[in-house]
């Protein structure tokens, strides 16, 4: 394996991108991803906050401490992972993290590994999805993505600018990918307009330092209130409104997440006033 360190976008030419490596390094070690060439993108991806524009290389620790960042995003970063991980984790890498589904991480030949069945659907799935779960029942682990979805963030890449929602797709039989990013496409920046008010609430299996069981982000702007959830679907999940929680399709052992989501949505909206 070789490690390249380009200093400009023009030098990019294939390989596996690595920023903080908190996701890439364990996946490489476990043989879930493979690469001949690693491309350290820290010299290419912008870092820092300018107005509503956030460099994709900004760490979660930096976002957590920056008063210019909308509350929902700041709180999502503060409650994500552990201090050391937040020091290492880039915003871009966070948006592109893979599922924590234990079958997938343990390399069961499930649909996301191009196999034929979802092992979680008829196996252990207490932590799995309650929406969009009929093909793959994994639960998207990013607090940060849910916050940005509620904030209606936009993503600028080396090729285009899209709404954050368009970065994600539900996998299906024909195409198992969970993002719409093309090979070699790099996320450069995320843009968010300041909301009138926003918040992020997170249920965890312990008080600190845990993936979201259910995360609820809510943001109020002139155009209304957007509510987005983490940990409930294979991708970050936007609700049409609070009553949308009732349209969940839980698995036999994920119905509890519907109750948690309902409660957190109610609390989040109360907080926004």
């Amino acid at each position: 394996m070789e490690l390249l360190r380009p200093s400009s976008v023009d030098e990019l030419d294939g390989g596996l991108f690595i920023h903080g490596g908190t996701e890439v390094v364990p996946l490489l070690r476990d043989g879930i991803v493979r690469a001949e060439t690693l491309v350290d993108v820290r010299g290419v991806v912008p870092r820092g906050v300018t107005g509503g524009r956030i460099g994709a290389g900004t760490t979660l620790a930096e976002l957590e401490a920056d008063a210019r960042v909308p509350d929902a995003l700041r709180e999502a970063c503060r409650l994500a992972a552990s201090p050391q991980l937040r020091n290492m984790s880039s915003l871009g890498g966070n948006l592109l993290q893979s599922t924590r589904c234990w079958y997938w991480r343990l390399k069961f030949p499930c649909r996301l590994h191009d196999g034929e069945r979802c092992h979680a659907a008829d196996g252990e799935h207490r932590e799995h999805a309650i929406f969009g779960n009929d093909y793959c029942a994994s639960a998207h682990p990013s607090d940060v993505a849910a916050a940005l979805l509620a904030l209606d963030g936009r993503v600028r890449t080396t090729r285009r600018e899209i709404a954050l929602a368009e970065l994600y797709r539900l996998p299906d039989e024909a195409d198992r990918r969970m993002t719409t990013l093309e090979p070699g496409e790099l996320i450069l920046e995320v843009e968010v307009q300041p909301p009138a008010a926003s918040t992020y609430l997170k249920a965890m299996d312990r008080k600190r330092w845990s993936f979201p069981q259910v995360g609820v982000a809510a943001a109020r702007t002139g155009g209304g209130t957007r509510i987005a959830l983490a940990g409930v679907a294979p991708v970050p999940w936007l609700l049409d409104g609070p009553e949308d929680v009732e349209r969940a399709t839980p698995l036999p052992r994920t119905a509890w997440k519907v109750d948690v989501a309902r409660a957190l949505v109610r609390r989040a909206l109360a907080e926004l006033g």
Binding site: T22, A61, A81, Q84, L85, N87, R208
Partner: protein
């Protein structure tokens, strides 16, 4: 690859993909840094890069640009005595990582509150449950 560790420069030969933790322990004999989970969950392998705590088990050695501080570099830090005074050690396996995280915390906030301690130390798991004593050690690190 060149690494600056605790102020000393080292020329190291290791394949790309080697973690900083493995290089510290196996190539440089700096075995104070522990590896427990080896996947970013426990904090046993915490070191600082330019004063910022990171997990050396999931840091690629070849991607390190700044100066590394390991527990060996904190030998004379008052926190070490504070941990002993508070009896904040049981099996001791998590302790080097705890001290590194605590050293970064007190450098940024010399008189941290309990809440600040809990937030900053949340990434260091102690299987033996010495948390109350660790908190005590950090609250009284300069006594």
């Amino acid at each position: 690859m060149k690494l600056v560790i605790n102020g000393d420069e080292h020329e190291v030969d290791a394949p790309v993909g080697a973690s900083l933790a493995a290089v510290l322990r196996e190539r440089l004999g700096l075995t104070g840094t522990k590896i427990a989970c080896n996947e970013g969950h426990c904090g046993a392998c915490t070191v600082m890069i330019d004063g910022v705590p990171v997990l050396s088990c999931i840091t690629l050695a070849h991607s390190v640009e700044g100066e590394v501080t390991t527990i060996e570099g904190l030998r004379d830090h008052p926190l070490v005595d504070a941990f002993v005074r508070a009896d904040a050690v049981q099996c001791g396996f998590c302790t080097p990582g705890q001290v590194v995280s605590a050293a970064a915390l007190v450098a940024a906030r010399p008189t941290p509150t309990e809440e600040e301690i809990r937030h900053a130390m949340a990434g260091n798991i102690c299987r033996c449950g010495t948390y109350p004593k660790i908190e005590e050690a950090i609250l009284h690190w300069r006594d």
